[in-house]
């Protein structure tokens, strides 16, 4: 029997009104603007764009404001917005080698062509709270030097000598997997896995990547290269008849260089893992590259024994919108479900006590 229960409309309406009031906070404090969020909380915006799987700084900033700074809620809002717009198609694959670099480092080669460019980084800061930031201030203008020349990818340099495995080649006949269009099925190819990891929760990937470092599916990683900067994006427009430029996008990329592998027929060479994300999302791309590599266990004929090597486990639990939906649905009314459990439990307990009292009765007789 299905019993519809009505009620609570006024409570819900007032709860949302209270939420809006709390979101605004103390009304004597100036309201935060989207451009303030976008400019001054920019790494939070980058994370919402990456995991919301939608590149649009202003929308991500709006989502953060609406979600009161709860980034998973903001990611949820952005994902829901995606569904309101038609998709015109897919871009040409971006060329990260042509990135206008704002940061580029390698932990494998000190003297890479183009050099080690630190860019705007928390690295080498002392992680001491800065009391000066508590007040308003105007930081010094950045130092400048002769503009940078182009930056070859470190993996291209290693690749010239065959020391590292080449990237998988394009198969013109195979369509690019898209998990927003087809439900996940296993085993999943690397293109689908990377799409899943790109929108995966940063904390989840960080923990999995960390677990591989601690021995649960060890892969002996080096950060071959990490780069962040602007990449031009082009879209083949049917009407124009050529690939039209859409503008530049900020992206981060991590090339992990991992333990080498060889066989009777192939000379040993380094293997690799790859990470790519919107904005400046370095921890995300490093974690993604570690997990991309560990998920290649099947392909590289490694024993699958750790969570980070299990693609079904990783891909089914990486999405924080799905995860939060299922975890948080527990707080929605389950009155009827619970009533039936309660009825069953009462019956079982009655049976238990009845059985427990039997021997006593027998003894008494």
């Amino acid at each position: 029997m299905y019993v519809a229960v009505k009620g609570g409309e006024r409570a819900i309406e007032n709860a949302h009104r209270l939420l809006a009031h709390e979101r605004r906070g103390d009304r004597d404090v100036p309201e935060i603007s989207l451009s303030q969020i976008s400019e001054q909380l920019s790494l939070g915006v980058d994370r919402v764009m990456t995991e919301g799987s939608l590149y649009d700084r202003e929308l991500a900033a709006l989502a953060i404001k609406q979600a009161r700074g709860d980034l998973i809620e903001a990611i949820f809002l952005v994902r829901a917005f995606r569904a309101t717009l038609p998709r015109f198609g897919a871009t040409e694959p971006v060329d990260t080698g042509a990135m206008q670099v704002r940061r580029r480092i390698s932990s494998t080669f000190k003297d890479i062509p183009g050099g080690q460019v630190l860019g705007p980084t928390f690295d080498y800061t002392h992680r001491l709270l800065d009391p000066q930031l508590a007040g308003a201030g105007s930081p010094e203008a950045p130092a400048t030097a002769e503009p940078l020349a182009s930056m070859p990818r470190v993996t291209d340099i290693l690749g010239r000598d065959g020391l590292i495995e080449p990237s998988p080649e394009t198969d013109a006949d195979a369509p690019v997997g898209d998990l927003t269009r087809e439900p996940l099925s296993f085993p999943a190819d690397r293109d689908l896995r990377l799409q899943n990891l790109a929108r995966a929760d940063e904390g989840f990937l960080l923990a999995l990547g960390y677990s591989t470092q601690r021995g649960y599916g060890r892969s002996h990683p080096f950060a071959g290269e990490i780069r962040f900067g602007d990449v031009e994006v082009e879209f083949y427009a049917e009407d124009a008849g050529f690939a039209v430029p859409l503008g530049a996008m900020a992206m981060s990329e991590c090339q992990m260089v991992n333990q080498f592998k060889g066989s009777a027929t192939e000379a040993p060479c380094f293997t690799r893992g790859y990470g790519l994300a919107f904005g400046q999302s370095e921890r995300k791309t490093m974690s993604m590259a570690l997990v991309d590599r560990s998920l290649r266990a099947r392909e590289l004929e490694e024993e699958i024994k750790a969570p980070a090597q299990d693609e079904e486990f990783v891909m089914s639990h990486s999405d924080n919108v799905q995860a939060t939906g299922f975890v948080e649905h527990l707080k929605l009314p389950h009155y009827v479900d619970f009533q039936s459990e309660l009825g069953l439990l009462r019956k079982l307990r009655a049976e238990f006590f009845e059985a427990a009292s039997e021997p006593l009765k027998e003894a008494a007789e």
């Binding site: 590149y55 694959p93 460019v117 630190l118 993996t155 990377l194 859409l246 690799r272």
Partner: protein, 153 residues
Amino acid sequence: MGATAEDAIDARRKAAMTVLASVAGAEIARCLNAIDLPAHAELREPENGLVMVRGRIGGDGAPFNLGEATVSRAAVRLATGEVGFGYTLGRDLAKARMIALCDAMVQSRGYADAVEANVLAPLRAEMLARRSRKSAEAAATRVDFYTMVRGEG
């Protein structure tokens, strides 16, 4: 028109679009104010949509879907027949429309020079200056390694 002439025009249109997509819509509007705009009609009303942005495995391998981006597009036709297309990241419909108009003017004998002088040249200079400034700021954070000499020479 031969294939090479057509390619040259496409290359010119693409170069113009690169400049226009890189700046804010308000900047294009400011520059367009200096031109007596040709008569034109909307061929496709400006609209918002999404594109799936693709990367390559390992940076240079097979493509994969990274995530989507908002885009705007529009198309216009000049009274003289040239058709222009406007595409840009983001949700600025007016910007897409202005890019389409500029694209049509780039192909028009009568307007190509005016759009180059009043719109593309100043915006290109702005784009290059911005890129060069960002690059110069990054360059100042490049590490200069030096070796410490230890012990007695």
